[in-house]
Symmetry: C2
């Protein structure tokens, strides 16, 4: 993404460029505290006169604000849905995509500088999905949006969208939840635990205070990503792509002893590549903070359970979708959502063999449903 | 298990007590070399005059030789199948259970002392399933067994059993393969990679030479076990047992910042417990060696593929079983085995909600099939 600091509203910010807003001090659910929280976000399109055409788009765990290309050179992660003339038509809607608190794509995160001039590091608060919504509510207020026409997200972005609908149902008209769940499951917590433990085990992690060191905990973060990535893909897809093949000329039987580095299987090389890509673009502390936030996800917490919480969002219109081969956010978890909301037409199944990541690669399949149930001309806000 | 070193055959060894045999020098498939390899094993029952009643039982990744209680006080891991009057009736069969090369339950492993007086450590060879069979063939010869009436194993033990049938089909009458596959899949390799990487990341691992240090790589081994254990259980079982519950009075929302230790979810405590149990009983280097061996598993390697390899074992009678909720060794992988063997009656499904570990907890379900197809009186060897 292209970064552009905006100090005044004199010139409109181009679509798909990073902007920042200060949303004040904040005390987190766990008791942690941050002064002067800054949220980064991108926008596309123009807010209409009665602010009725705003759409909130929420990214996944390691995602960023760059949902759509806009006027930048870089592709967005939901270009299939968002753009001029698209399903979420930025010629008609004002799309806002905030970076989640704790992330490393512009909003205040562990790498941000604290008032004492040092990065927050280990002093950064544990964060919940609910905290992120509370802060994004402030962002909406700053932008003059009292109610979003629609809130959409996939994976952790879906958890954020659902939490939005329950925390502030009066501010959400349509809520689109893709490949997510009402509350993180035991298995999701279990895989997350191993990931954060791997990062913390890395001696370069230094308990989270590694920003002034020569090296960062890339090995630990890489292991976390490997674990996560396997859960993002289906067994079938991994087998079809890699089976037991060697990586090119490498020979997995070439290491004589434990002291030797043997050649790799192709799937190992693939996961090394996925790990290296993430390490190059993501901060280990942010990975821990956001993974912990995802573990915390439960729209029913302190609200009498999932059913009561979802019932309370009885004016929100839901579209819930799942990937049929997803083995991290099983389609049955999407069923649990639609079973308890007042307005929702069953679970739309994205048909993809690759697993959870279908919420990115195959999101175009959701286009007709979104068009019909949310963004069609007859249902669109008229204030533009 | 009770350890008893046997120097002579004057007194028969009690059932279910550890014995040792030296099987000579060995060059591994990867080129590594060990002098004077020692294999540990336990036996139950008595070998008959024509040595036709021998049964080989092969343990899983972190398993040991103690398949059945025998005359020891400790329960065995397949007590449901093996014992006097049992399905594998030790009043009629002579059961042999070797510890796999590289393990830490008696056979030569990384913690064993090399000729220079130091543990092998990082000098220990990478090992394959095929290496383990080659060494166990020597054990059989030492014991005077030219052909096993049956070879049985589950999980990695199933891989070992299948490799036995293909490496030495003339030495195997019946082969029983439970919750295993013909070749390790991309996903199995992927999860294994993350596990070995976590161990190697642990600063206490010291590249495998930690035996003289004050501490061992328990954190890394614990993470490996956590990852593995999740794959051993079904999502459904984890959810039913733990869901998002807190661990007793612990509060997962009690940590203010990354520097704090928060309370745990119940599933985290459960996995901590599983990790701690393994760390107390298993060696990290052995875990790496055996995990690498399992990654190497492919009965079709250098044999023209799985189909040709299994076809070559055309005199062996197979019983293949899978756990219906297993998501590490999917039942379809068992189908691949029976589809290519000459004698095999389809896949017997063990009905268990818990996942892969059903090969231990619910193995009794296989009893009637084993009785009918392998161990019934009419089919049993007559030389006793």
């Amino acid at each position: 993404m292209t970064i552009r600091e905006i100090d005044s509203q004199e010139q409109p910010t181009p679509d798909g460029h990073l902007q920042f807003v200060e949303v004040g001090d904040y005390t987190f659910e766990t008791g942690g505290y941050l002064p002067n929280v800054k949220l980064a976000f991108e926008t596309w399109g123009t807010l209409n006169a009665d602010a009725s055409n705003a759409v909130l788009l929420l990214h996944a765990l390691t995602g960023d604000t760059h949902v759509a290309r806009g006027e930048s050179a870089e592709p967005g992660w939901w270009d299939q849905l968002v753009g001029p003339g698209g399903i979420v038509d930025t010629d008609h809607y004002f799309v806002v995509a905030p970076n989640m608190i704790g992330s490393c794509y512009g909003s205040t995160g562990p790498a941000s500088i604290a008032p004492d001039g040092r990065p927050w590091g280990s002093r950064f608060p544990f964060t919940t999905i609910r905290d992120s919504v509370n802060l994004e509510l402030r962002l909406a207020e700053k932008l003059g949006i009292t109610k979003f026409y629609a809130v959409l997200g996939g994976s952790m972005g879906g958890a954020r969208a659902l939490e939005w609908a329950v925390t502030a149902p009066e501010k959400v008209n349509h809520c689109v939840v893709v490949a997510a769940c009402a509350k993180s499951t035991a298995e999701q917590i279990a895989f997350a635990q191993a990931q954060t433990a791997a990062i913390r085990l890395d001696p370069q992690y230094r308990s989270g205070d590694y920003y002034d060191a020569a090296s960062s905990p890339s090995a630990g973060l890489g292991i976390a990503r490997r674990i996560a990535h396997v859960t993002y893909r289906s067994e079938m897809e991994l087998e079809a792509r890699f089976s037991r093949q060697n990586q090119h000329e490498e020979n997995p039987f070439s290491g004589e002893t434990l002291a030797h580095t043997r050649g790799r299987y192709a799937v190992e090389s693939y996961l090394d590549h996925q790990a290296n890509k993430l390490v190059d673009r993501f901060d280990a502390n942010s990975y821990v903070v956001l993974t912990e936030a995802l573990m915390s996800h439960d729209v029913g917490r302190s609200r009498g359970g999932v059913e009561a919480a979802l019932n309370s969002a009885d004016d929100v219109h839901f579209v819930v979708a799942a990937v049929n081969s997803d083995r991290l956010y099983w389609p049955a978890q999407s069923d649990e959502i639609v079973n308890h909301v007042s307005h929702g037409d069953g679970v739309f199944i994205i048909d993809s063999p690759i697993g959870h990541d279908g919420f990115l690669t195959d999101i175009h399949q959701l286009g007709p449903v979104l068009n019909e149930q949310v963004f069609s001309a007859s249902k669109a806000p008229q204030g533009n």
